[in-house]
């Protein structure tokens, strides 16, 4: 009995660890609304939501003018992210499972583009970032993931 209880506790603990581990850290692009809260916590920001035609716009506002916007479709999936602020956000966190594809495409760019702008475009992912020290802005989106009546120029 005692042994069983102990094993149950171990199993529960392992499950708990597994639950923590399989939850992607701040997985934003391709993630769900809960991931936006994690992104907000990562920058100690406030999180607000406003409904738009065909999607919800989640905005994280943080110190020094940092603003991160996440676009969530009717299925609850983040299909676009934009950022603006004094420093580059953690793109590993914002791009989530799509970061590896971004990094691979970036590594394949040679020569590197001018340092004030960066663009990576693959069939499944577009990342654009630019600006300068103290003021960077950019966006990432899943080209096939935009609602039918939404233009790329609305990803702002």
């Amino acid at each position: 009995m005692f042994k069983d209880l102990y094993l149950n506790r171990v199993a529960a603990a392992l499950l708990g660890i597994a639950a923590v581990c399989i939850q992607p850290a701040h997985a934003a692009l391709g993630g769900d609304a809960a991931s936006v809260d994690e992104d907000a916590a990562a920058v100690a920001g406030t999180h607000s939501v406003s409904p738009r035609q065909g999607y919800d716009l989640h905005v994280i506002a943080a110190a020094a003018g940092t603003r991160i916007a996440e676009f969530i479709d009717s299925d609850g999936r983040v299909f676009a992210v934009t950022w603006t602020g004094p420093v580059m956000p953690d793109l590993r966190a914002l791009l989530g499972t799509h970061y590896a594809a971004f990094a691979a495409a970036l590594a394949a760019q040679s020569p590197r583009p001018p340092h004030a702008a960066l663009r990576v475009a693959t069939p499944g992912l577009v990342v654009e970032t630019g600006g300068h020290m103290r003021a960077v802005s950019g966006r990432a989106y899943l080209p096939g993931g935009l609602p039918a009546d939404m233009a790329v120029s609305d990803v702002r």
Binding site: M88, P114, H115, L118, R119, R134, S137
Partner: protein, 422 residues
């Protein structure tokens, strides 16, 4: 004969000395009056800018304006080196030097520590990536101007120091000579430090400055502005209220092998750096260092910047074809080049600058890189930036016109920075 000759020689020497004195007096204000007090020699305030194919270890650069910077270990007159091919960047603040370049020059600079005695390091953000490396102090000399003991960043391309935090460099670390096509970056834009008060407060620190333990564990922290990476031209003893970037026009906008210009220190402090009396377009900058630009009749303006660190005009125009050739990824390749475009520059709405010039229109041409002169270093019509939410006036803007940079909180005539002018 001999004695005669000596007397003659003495007379010649006396005469020559008198003539020389007269010449010197003539040069330096001999009309100063009976006291005979001569004016002090003006500080040499001009260094040559060269646009060429880049440092020996990373050729193929385009539209990169370079200067040579004299760097000495702080307080030393012997531990010095001339670092060539340092990129002149009006779009950043402070000097950054690649570690492998310093090592090759046998130059070791004093690393800085924070209040806890940990190594002070930085993750600095640029438009397309971030730099990582320790803060060191050095004496920086350009022409006759010296910034004594100022903080700079050593770009840790050899990964000799604490490793970059996981959150730094997700869009690429740009620490090497090849990343920059330069041995360093000379940030001489409108601000005094690279981060300023955003990194000096008491709130949660931005992920910019870090204290790193001997074990290489780095934690973000706030740092006093005096300890932040500092714009050398702001820290000079004289001629420290701004700079002028004055590039000659290109002979062929489709490609010159090289281009020349001058980086002039000070505004209105010497005979060679006065603001023009008429025709000057002045633009007040906001807290980000930006003014406002309205492109091609757009309904809204976007933040604008005059940036020698960018090799091209960077702006969003979905109607212009982007290049498909591998050599020009990220640039525009218009089908009917050159495309003539206009944009209106105006002061930022919220600016600390005492500048309120009228908005002015700039007309510029977008060329087709596929038809440019091959292997040139200076191109006049290079543009890119699809998707950009800003307007960046890169090097093509600078060819053929002087550009004035006014530092924050410093004045020339009735104007106080931060401002831009052309």
């Amino acid at each position: 004969m001999y004695a005669e000759s000596r007397r003659c020689a003495a007379a010649v020497r006396t005469a020559l000395a008198a003539v020389l004195l007269g010449l010197i007096a003539g040069c330096f204000g001999g009309k100063g009056g009976p006291s005979g007090v001569t004016q002090p020699l003006p500080t040499l305030n001009v260094v040559t800018i060269t646009v060429d194919s880049g440092p020996a270890t990373a050729t193929g650069a385009i539209n990169r304006p370079y200067v040579t910077v004299h760097v000495c270990a702080a307080g030393s007159s012997t531990q010095c080196a001339n670092i060539d091919h340092v990129l002149v960047d009006t779009g950043s603040w402070g000097l950054r030097l690649v570690r492998s370049t310093l090592t090759a020059a046998a130059l070791t600079l004093a690393p800085q520590t924070d209040a806890q005695g940990n190594a002070l390091e930085e993750c600095a953000t640029f438009g397309s990536g971030q730099t990582w490396g320790p803060i060191a102090r050095a004496d920086i000399t350009l022409a006759g101007e010296t910034a004594a003991g100022i903080p700079l960043q050593v770009l840790d391309d050899t990964q000799s120091g604490a490793p970059a935090p996981a959150t730094c460099g997700a869009s690429g670390l740009i620490n090497g000579v090849a990343d920059w096509a330069a041995n360093g970056v000379l940030g001489i834009g409108v601000f005094a430090q690279d981060c300023g008060m955003n990194c000096a407060g008491t709130g949660a620190p931005l992920p910019v400055y870090y204290g790193c333990t001997a074990a290489g564990v780095c934690t973000a922290e706030n740092v006093a502005v005096a300890a932040q990476v500092t714009n050398p031209a702001w820290a000079f003893a004289t001629d420290n209220n701004g700079v002028i970037v004055s590039m000659a026009n290109l002979q062929d906008a489709n490609g010159d092998a090289s281009a020349q210009g001058q980086l002039i220190f000070g505004l209105g402090t010497q005979a060679d750096n006065a603001l023009p009396g008429s025709g000057l377009q002045l633009l007040g900058a906001d807290a980000n260092g930006d003014f406002q630009t309205t492109y091609n009749g757009a309904s809204v303006s976007v933040p604008g910047l005059l940036d020698t660190g960018s090799d091209s005009y960077l702006f969003d125009d979905p109607t212009i074809q982007v290049c498909t050739s591998a050599a020009w990824v990220g640039y525009y390749c218009p089908a009917n080049a050159p495309l003539v475009r206009t944009a209106i520059n105006a002061s930022a709405a919220q600016t600390a600058a005492s500048v309120s010039g009228a908005a002015g229109t700039v007309t510029f041409a977008v060329g087709d890189p596929d038809s440019f002169v091959a292997n040139a270093a200076a191109y006049g019509g290079l543009a890119g930036g699809a998707g950009a939410t800003r307007f960046n006036w890169g090097m093509p803007f600078f060819y053929g016109r002087p550009v004035y940079i006014g530092f924050e909180g410093r004045s020339v005539t009735s104007f106080t920075g931060p401002f831009y002018g052309y």
